[in-house]
Symmetry: D2
Subunit: 479 residues, 4 copies
């Protein structure tokens, strides 16, 4: 890790103001930019080639404001006052003292004075899913989820001076730690075995005797970044009389080849059975007498023949494995796991969120009626906002628009559409980030084009090139 | 109803500004005042004696602004834009045309332009539970629930000009209709039979042939009030080219003697069996041969003796029936059904909601530590906010503080306390609305007094006479 | 208990051969006779007046064969070989040594040699529900259930020489203990408190320090009977080098006034609410402020008024309580709990069990077609075999015919019949044990009479005066 | 099918008396013999090579008694009288008239006269799972299950003269039809498409227009056999004035390569993920943008690379697929599906079923204590009676001994054993049908050998070479 730290020891000229990001013309580009900013000055290519899932990265920026805007202890104070946070559900109060890790959550709502009282007495405060309450964290995660193409989560950790809140352990996610306030001294350790490399599940708490020598030991300061792969054992404590606040951004939980194969292989079997009569033929009579673990050492021609046959049929099955359908299932799940998009005011006024009919208080009537027209320019709101797939003989558009900021609070949302309009939806996906005219959708009739465009627009999936003009005589002059 | 209408036909001098109610010194008094305002100029005594559960009341006020502030179509427009409302769950789109009642709910989120588009084409819009989104409706209902001592709900109904949104029907609640915008022509009909008087369940849709002559037929205008008991059949339509908006406040659903008896009688049996050996004695051998519907006409001395014995034991059971325990079960359910209280800023700063420790951004530390002292003046936040009961051998305080504005979104919330502090809690309940000193709580030691007071304060159940003073030297000068 | 023992110390001249009971002309009479035989020479009137649910009875008969035929260790040996009995489910292996009660059940099937091996090493063997495997126990219990009008069960206990299998405890049933083989020394103790008199639930295991002086201490010998009420604490051990076998017949579990009231009171409330508008009226506003355990000491006119009103309404409810419907629910449950009847060969040939059509092997065709005729003499198979009740607006005949010998193995069995035939079914019930002619059933047409008679006959509920004569010319000569 | 029918048209000299089979020295040999007898004179080799799963076989034997003993209408009559059969559950009453298939099941128990009455009026009677009630069918199926190594079931069909009970359809099992009484005219048709060849699910009812020309049309007479593969459409009716009775033996339901793969592939994925870090690596960022059905036509190097990688990893997974573990899962399920073995009296006396300790009525004590000795000769009761597998880190012996004759009435039964004794169990399996001495079991100590042998013997899994000799002095002389 020597060279990594070396490479990172720099000062940056211009700081992007995190809370004030231009939002959002081409979500793919924006997402790329935000990630570049996150790991700056390391380049993504280098990062993914040399570090990702391999080793930790520490970037010391010597720029205290670099991570500003994402979150702060003052925002935590605000949230505790304004929102009904529940201990254990949304917030944890922990200590790690003399090798003992304890949780001190009371029951019920976490009122600010109660939380601060415990903080004062040396407890760490972990806020789960800050994106539910913080618009900036929501923005950050929603862009990173577009970048990674997988669920991105976060926790924030507030640690009082001179304490450590958690025991050494490893997690099942790729971790990006952004130091926001104060200092924290980190120690990282390699996985203890091959089986714990890139693990599927987080560990329990370790004690010092479980650990070897740290592979990295450094103090994070405001503006710094620390990345480490899942499986990396870690612990951290505040130093001196300063508190510490950081946010941990996490991703790539259950997003591996193995997860894809878990979806793929049962489907591959099912397809083979349906389409290939060989898979519907009976097993050889008596095979249970020479197969099975108790027979694994038996040297038997029938056994060899059986194994040969299994292999041959597996090859046959593989060559027809429905890889795309399995990817679509991964994609469907990603849509369900996703945060809804953060829309700018401009975007809202070009979409169902704020375009179209309104109640006019003075006139006591509805004004501003609009309609999608043949020449209306449309595009989908974000690249990653929807996924088209075929299920139960229906063509379905799964989308993130009605998801909540709280993970899985809402059931998967989809629209059934006619099979023939699938091509128009694909056209919109592939055209992104360009606008297209409704009349250019690849459908046989203008009626169909307007119908699907209106339908997607009314579900909030499209934005128009500019706000739709009202059809009302009235509104055109008065509003 | 002649005299009623007569009595109501008046103009009021001073209109209370609904949205700006003084909030909240003695919740019992406030609640009384708001109800008086609601049915003004009818007096509550007269109302409950002559009309309640008996006949409709129409108050024509000739003051368009009288009901202003509770809700408006403009607020509906705002809610549709800001909140994720779901068709069918939070909002219904309906028509009643040529005797046919239809629901036109699309699937998923109700975006404003889609709702207005349907409204424009003649559909009514029913918003369920507006208290979830409207602070003023929340205030209104939370006060009325304190007044009635039972769950109070609401819907709002927006009807386009020249239409009717619902078929004639009756409901299972006492209805108070506040006309907010436009005019609506109402027709009310008596229950069709004794069995439909004060019914337990709402009816299906009727057709005109089911109905007799209206017992009341009038047009509501802004500022007017219409009350009618559950079981009253009703229908209403807009007239002329004006839309109509009203809010229906509902109460006394499942809050009858029968509901109390459903809780009481099984408990009475259980208690009798536990405490009275007579109830544990065997039934007379062979009683099945002379009892049962098939033997109900049999004239038989054994049968007579059996019936006499049943009656005698019922009398015995009744005399010990645990009426208070059953009332507490009603009360517990009321606490669960309740809206949380609306707190003023002043109240917040005298309670856990905004008192006590805070994060000081400049100092990067917690400031403002406070503590309940022996001479701190305390009272419960609202009269109806908690209920003390004994369950599973625990003394429990059920409370409404952590309820959501959405009905039953949160499980019943309670705190287990030691049996000996029950008297202190009762003392606080009975002292309301007066403040008491912590040291005056009827408990043996000061320590216990401070402990229970702190505990209730930290759950948000108490307010102090004035904001607690910080213990910090620092904060006392700097903040 | 002195006089009881005295009274019982006698010798009987004629012993009824238990396994060879005349079976079954008038089940009511038979049932009475079997019970008289069980407690002989005590008379039932005296028994129920002086002892039942009050104190133990010990009958020393000095006739070793008196209880013979009901069960034997040899029959247990046969059952273990022929039936798939499972440890823990059908059989328990227990010890009680030095005050410690242990269960030694292996997993899975109880093979005879394994059971005997454990018996040899000092374990007691409890067979649950011997009626499932023993035809004589089945007979005994099915008659006693007819006598008592409630569920009657049994266990058998085999105890090796010089041991005790169970700790002192009490049960929730009336117990009749028939000593079958060897001797057993019993000690009985009074309930320890009023709350444990006629208890609803069995106790856990006691130790000697829990017990006072025995109220009865005697040794049972073959032919003897011991009865004691539920709640009586008891323990027993073998003496000398003899084993002991007894059967415990149990009844009156959950068959008390309290059980009837548990069914009655909720129905009484429901009926009151449906039929009496007073019960649908709202509770007085604010009652929660003066009712509830926290207000139970408050002296308040509203509270008094409330309590008075509750009492008055309870009286109203009681006077209309549906006692017969509740008894029918008890009766329905009894039908479900019941053993099916034991039919003699004669009875079978006069019923659907063996009457009517048969397959003729020689002719390869069905022969012996029979039909219920207008002059066919019919009666129900047993007095207690069915119960007529109204449920979900249907008239239903619940019956025991298809019950299994294993408790509740079969769901409640019933036939829906037309309301108008209910009177015919009642007529059959009340005519029992007399036969009646089909044409005398109280129904308007002969067709209806034949229809209901045929329908009941085909469900096995009726027997005919003599076997039905075949309609076949053939069969009349050949068979 | 020409040649088939030709080949089968023969007469046999000696008829095996079905109900009197020598039972059972080497279950593998016995099973082979019974199957040879079933399809005689076709040889198994020829049958499995040319006909099995390919085409129908009809054997006309011209020997009316050839199938005698398996079942008869007289046995059905007996079963209806002695057992509690339920319509719909155990028995179906059907007609197929004028192209309409109907079920006429009453509710509840199927009493013989009611069944015969319906039979007389032209209904067919299907008895499900006759092995539950008929010892000979139980024997037949239990041997065939040993032969096929899969679940074997049966139904019997009784059809009155001149009728057809079922519509044309196909089933999901291999069918062997044994004509027992009377004649039946069969018509068989090929599957209508490749997708319906060897189908996984039975069809609904067809009408004549769905069918082409029969591929076989013949009349079965007593003693004849008809076999056809799953997917073969079939219908049959009685001819002339004779009834027909046949039994259909079925096998190979869900016993295909596909079923094995359904168990294999998820395990293969799980194993790969656990043992190969490649499967725990993250999916390539952004793969959802070029994978999925909507991108299946896209020509894209990333896509090609992704597919190549999937294939490569599948190969990797396949080469380590846990085939034996999957076969063991099939085997475990087979054990659960299996009938328990039918034991001869001789076998019973050499096993726990009837060996060892007994109750001696005269002596009133247990006699005949026996023990497994080092030189006791043991073997497992049947080849296919148990399966050894590792599950949840336990070594488990699943066995059929405690299964009921009713399919899946009993949960899977197993014994946990120590890992070290697995080799002894394998030794017993592989030694079958030879006896081995306990002392020859491949275990380190004699104590262990005796322990496992005793343990298996006590679960009924072993038989000894001869009945164990009692240890009792007494019994050795007296018994």
């Amino acid at each position: 890790t020597e060279e990594i730290e070396q490479a990172m020891d720099f000062a940056e000229e211009t700081v992007m103001e995190n809370s004030n990001l231009p939002y959002m013309h081409d979500s793919t580009m924006e997402a790329k930019r935000i990630f570049e900013c996150l790991i700056h000055p390391v380049k993504p290519d280098k990062f993914f080639k040399e570090l990702w899932e391999k080793k930790p990265l520490l970037v010391k920026r010597h720029m205290k404001q670099y991570n500003d805007g994402w979150f702060s202890t003052a925002e935590l104070d605000r949230i505790l006052r304004e929102e009904n946070l529940q201990f254990s559900v949304n917030l944890d109060i922990t200590t790690y003292t003399n090798g003992v890790r304890e949780t001190h959550n009371p029951v019920g709502r976490a009122y600010a004075p109660v939380v601060w009282d415990m903080y004062q007495s040396g407890c760490s405060v972990r806020l789960l899913n800050p994106q539910t309450y913080s618009r900036n964290v929501w923005k950050l995660l929603s862009m990173l989820q577009e970048y990674f193409g997988c669920c991105v989560g976060a926790n924030t950790y507030l640690t009082p001076p001179g304490t450590q809140g958690f025991a050494p352990h490893f997690d099942d996610i790729e971790a990006f730690i952004l130091q926001l306030e104060g200092k924290k001294h980190w120690r990282l350790y390699s996985p203890r075995s091959d089986a714990e490399k890139l693990p599927r599940f987080s560990s329990g708490n370790f004690t010092d005797v479980d650990l070897g020598e740290p592979i990295l030991e450094k103090t994070l300061e405001p503006g710094d970044l620390l990345y480490f792969p899942r499986g990396t054992i870690h612990q951290a404590k505040t130093v001196g009389d300063e508190h510490s606040l950081h946010i941990t951004v996490s991703c790539y939980q259950k997003n591996t080849w193995g997860d894809l194969f878990e979806k793929l292989m049962p489907r591959a079997v099912q397809l083979a059975v349906e389409e290939d009569v060989e898979f519907r033929k009976g097993l050889p009579r008596g095979y249970l007498n020479f197969m099975g673990v108790a027979n694994s050492d038996v040297d038997n021609p029938q056994r060899k023949e059986f194994l040969r046959k299994v292999e041959q049929m597996m090859m046959r099955m593989i060559s027809n494995a429905p890889v795309d359908a399995a990817c679509d299932q991964m994609g469907k799940q990603f849509i369900h796991d996703s945060l809804p998009p953060v829309l700018s005011e401009a975007e809202k006024s070009c979409s169902i969120h704020n375009g179209g009919e309104k109640w006019d208080k003075q006139k006591s009537q509805v004004v501003g009626a609009t309609e999608i027209e043949p020449d209306t320019a449309i595009k989908i709101v974000r690249k990653g906002i929807l996924r088209l797939l075929t299920e139960e003989d229906e063509v379905r558009i799964y989308h993130t628009l009605e998801n909540a900021r709280l993970y899985h609070k809402v059931d998967p949302q989809y629209i059934d559409v006619e099979a023939e309009v699938a091509s128009a939806v694909e056209f919109l996906i592939h055209s992104y980030p360009e606008f297209v005219s409704v009349e250019n959708l690849p459908l046989p009739t203008l009626e169909k084009k307007l119908e699907i465009a209106t339908s997607l627009y009314e579900k909030g999936l499209l934005i128009t090139g500019e706000p739709l003009t009202s059809l009302d005589d009235d509104s055109s002059c008065d509003n």
